[in-house]
C-alpha cells in the first residue's frame, strides 16, 4: 500500500504567470527513499475540505543537482495546482510518495547517443530532468529538444534551457514551436503534430541518427509524434512516453446518497452491477461476495487473487452498505470514496449498486 512521507518546502519560484517551481527537502531519515531517477514523478496528497486529493508532478531537477524539485502548472479548475500556485509557501510541509515512473533510458558514461525530446507545455518538467542528466552524465551524447507552447510568455524554464544550450554548445539544441505566435520560419509556428514532425525530420533533424526519443505532453501530440517517429523507422523500444492526463478529472465523486436499510445479514440481497456500460440486477445468495455473485451471474468481472491482496477486482459502491472482510490493497482514501474489493465485499443492506466502470 502507498506510503507518504513529509517533504519540507524550502523554496518557491514563480516560473511563468501560471506555473511555480517548488524545491523540497525530505527529512534526514527519509532521504534514501527520495533518491530518484531522471524523469520520475512525485505523487502528493492533501486534504481539501475534508476530501483527500492526490496529484502527481514530475521532478524537473537533474541527478547532479542533488535537490528535489517539481514544476506545478496551474490547470483550469485544478484544486491542487491552483493552491500550489497561490497559497503554497516556504516552510510548508507537503506529503509525497517516493519517486515513481519509468520515463528514462539507462545512462552510459561512454555512450555516444543522439536523443530527441518532445515536450508540450508543462510536459517539459520530466524532459528537463532527462536533458540535464544526460548532458552531465553522458559527455559524448547529444540531445535536441522540440518544445511546444502557446506563446513565448508561457514557456517554462526558458532561461534555464538557454543556459544549458550555452553551456553545452553543440550538444544541446532547442526548437521552440509556438502555437499562437507567428515566427520568422513558418515551421516553428502552430502545433507539434505528425505533419510538423515530418517537416522537421525533412530538413532540421537527422532522424536516422536518433537512438532514443522522449515524448511528454497531451494525448494528441504524443500520438502524432509517435506516428511520425515510427514512420521514420523508430521501434517501440526507442520511444519513451510520459502521459500527462490533459483534462482535470472530477475531484469529487458524484455519489448518490447512501441508503441504509435495516439489514438481516444472510438474507438475500439485490445487487445492481455495472460493467462496460451494461447494468445487470441480480439476487445475491447469503454468504456470497459481490464478486462471486457477479461471476455466478456470468458477469465478466475482473479478479485475480480473491484474497483481498491484489485489488484487480476493485469497484465503486454507489448505493447501499457493504463490509469488506479483508483489505490489503486499497488505501483509506479509496475506501472513503466508496471503493471496495469485490472479492471481499458482502452487502449489509438489502440492495447494493456496484460499478466497475468508475
Amino acid at each position: 500500500m502507498a506510503r507518504f512521507f513529509p517533504l519540507d518546502v524550502t523554496d518557491i519560484r514563480r516560473e511563468t504567470r501560471d506555473a511555480v517551481v517548488v524545491t523540497l527537502s525530505p527529512r534526514d531519515e527519509d532521504r534514501d527513499r527520495f533518491g530518484y531517477i531522471q524523469g520520475q514523478y512525485l505523487t502528493f496528497r492533501r486534504d481539501f475540505d475534508g476530501e483527500e486529493l492526490r496529484r502527481s508532478y514530475s521532478i524537473c531537477a537533474g541527478l547532479d543537482e542533488k535537490i528535489l524539485r517539481v514544476g506545478i502548472k496551474h490547470i483550469d479548475g485544478g484544486f491542487f495546482s491552483g493552491w500550489a500556485n497561490s497559497d503554497l509557501k516556504p516552510g510548508d510541509v507537503l506529503e509525497a510518495m517516493p519517486p515513481m515512473g519509468s520515463f528514462h533510458a539507462p545512462l552510459e558514461a561512454e555512450a555516444k547517443k543522439t536523443y530527441l525530446a518532445f515536450a508540450g507545455g508543462s510536459g517539459i518538467t520530466p524532459v528537463l530532468s532527462i536533458i540535464k542528466t544526460v548532458l552531465a552524465r553522458e559527455p559524448h551524447s547529444d540531445i535536441t529538444l522540440i518544445y511546444g507552447n502557446r506563446s513565448i510568455s508561457s514557456i517554462m524554464f526558458r532561461e534555464e534551457l538557454e543556459d544549458l544550450k550555452n553551456r553545452y554548445i553543440g550538444r544541446f539544441n532547442i526548437i521552440h514551436v509556438l502555437e499562437n505566435e507567428a515566427q520568422e520560419i513558418d515551421l516553428f509556428s502552430g502545433l507539434i503534430d505528425k505533419e510538423k514532425c515530418r517537416l522537421l525530420f525533412d530538413g532540421w533533424i537527422d532522424i536516422e541518427a536518433v537512438d532514443m526519443a522522449f515524448i511528454c505532453g497531451p494525448e494528441p501530440m504524443m500520438l502524432g509524434i509517435a506516428a511520425a517517429l515510427k514512420e521514420h523507422g523508430l521501434r517501440d523500444d526507442q520511444i519513451k512516453f510520459e502521459l500527462f492526463a490533459s483534462a482535470p478529472r472530477p475531484h469529487r465523486m458524484q455519489r448518490q446518497p447512501v441508503t441504509v436499510k435495516s439489514s438481516d445479514k444472510g438474507a438475500v440481497c439485490q445487487a445492481t452491477i455495472t460493467i462496460d456500460g451494461t447494468t445487470k440486477t441480480i439476487e445475491m445468495a447469503s454468504g456470497q461476495s459481490v464478486l462471486q455473485a457477479a461471476l455466478a451471474a456470468d458477469i465478466d468481472a475482473p479478479h485475480a487473487c480473491t484474497a483481498g491482496v491484489c485489488s484487480t477486482c476493485r469497484a465503486l459502491v454507489l448505493e447501499g452498505e457493504v463490509e469488506m472482510q479483508t483489505n490489503h490493497a486499497l488505501d483509506d482514501y479509496e475506501v472513503e470514496r466508496g471503493y471496495v474489493l469485490t472479492c471481499q465485499c458482502h452487502p449489509l443492506s438489502d440492495r447494493v449498486v456496484v460499478d466497475y466502470d468508475q
Binding site: 505523487t43 508540450g120 517501440d236 502521459l243 492526463a245 490533459s246 462496460d276 487473487c305
Partner: protein, 252 residues
C-alpha cells in the same frame, strides 16, 4: 494546444499509458488481470520446474533447470512490482497461494482458470520426471515466447518495457529446452517416452492460448492490451512446433 481527447480514443489510436494515474477503471481491471495471469504462471511454473532440477541427468542440465527457475521467479517479481504500483500488497501476493499445488495428471480442466489463482491452466498439471519437464519446457517455452511477442507492444508502457526485457530470456528458456531435447534424442530408446510426453502436453499448452473468438478480446484490443487473436497466436505456435519436431524427426 488542442489537447482534448478521451483516454479511450487515445488508446484506440495506439496511445501509451505511463502510470497508474492515467489508467481508467476498466483498463486498470483488465491490465491487473493480465499481469496477475503472468505473475501466477511464472510463480507456478517456477515451482513446478524447481521439483525437476534434481531429475536432470547431469550437472549442465541441472544448471539449465535452475537458471530457468531463477529467471521465472525474477520475471514474476518484476511484474508483481508493477501490480504494487496499483496498490497490490506484493509481499502477501507472493505467498497467498500454494504455487506447487497441482491437479491429478489425468484431470481435465480445459482452458479454465482453476482454484484461486490466475495461472494459465497448463501450469496446474504435474510434471513427471526429466523427459516430461524438457518436453513441457519446449512446448510451453515456445508458447510463452509467442505470447510475450504479442504483449511486448501493449499500451501500458512500464509493462511493455518489462516484457521486452523478459522476452529474450524466456526465448532462451525455450532454446535450453530444445538443447535438452536433442540430448535426450541421442538415445533412441527414449523416443517413445518423449513422444508420449509431447502427446500429453500438446493439447494442454494449446489450451493456454485461450478460447477461439474470446468475447474479451475486442475490449482488450480497444484498450491496446492485445492486437492478435488467440487463434492467430495458436496457429503460429502450431507451425513453429511442427517445424521443430519435423526437424528433430519426432512424430506427433
Amino acid at each position: 494546444m488542442s489537447d482534448e481527447m478521451t483516454i479511450q480514443s487515445y488508446l484506440e489510436q495506439g496511445g501509451k499509458l505511463t502510470s497508474p494515474d492515467n489508467a481508467p477503471a476498466r483498463y486498470r481491471g483488465e491490465l491487473m488481470r493480465l499481469m496477475a495471469s503472468f505473475v501466477d504462471s511464472e510463480l507456478a511454473g517456477a515451482a513446478g520446474f524447481a521439483d525437476c532440477i534434481n531429475d536432470g541427468p547431469g550437472i549442465t542440465e541441472r544448471i539449465a533447470a535452475s537458471r530457468i527457475v531463477l529467471e521465472k521467479l525474477d520475471h514474476g517479481e518484476r511484474v508483481l512490482k508493477l501490480m504494487g504500483d496499483f496498490g497490490a500488497d506484493t509481499l502477501r501476493y507472493a505467498s497467498h497461494h500454494p504455487w506447487t499445488e497441482r491437479v491429478a495428471r489425468d484431470a481435465d480442466i480445459g482452458a479454465a482458470r482453476h482454484g484461486a489463482d490466475m495461472r494459465l491452466s497448463v501450469f496446474h498439471y504435474p510434471i513427471e520426471g526429466w523427459i516430461d519437464s524438457v518436453t513441457m519446457n519446449v512446448l510451453m517455452g515456445t508458447a510463452v515466447t509467442i505470447q510475450l511477442e504479442e504483449l511486448a507492444g501493449i499500451s501500458y508502457q512500464p509493462l511493455a518495457d518489462e516484457f521486452r526485457a523478459i522476452l529474450p530470456r524466456e526465448r532462451r528458456h525455450a532454446e535450453l529446452g530444445v538443447e535438452g531435447l536433442r540430448k535426450l534424442l541421442a538415445d533412441n530408446s527414449e523416443k517413445p517416452a518423449i513422444e508420449a510426453s509431447l502427446a500429453y502436453w500438446t493439447p494442454r499448452v494449446a489450451a493456454s492460448f485461450g478460447h477461439a473468438g474470446s468475447k474479451r478480446f475486442d475490449a482488450l484490443k480497444r484498450f491496446g492490451l492485445r492486437s492478435r487473436t488467440n487463434d492467430a497466436l495458436l496457429a503460429e505456435w502450431r507451425e513453429t512446433i511442427g517445424k521443430l519436431l519435423a526437424e528433430l524427426g519426432i512424430a506427433r
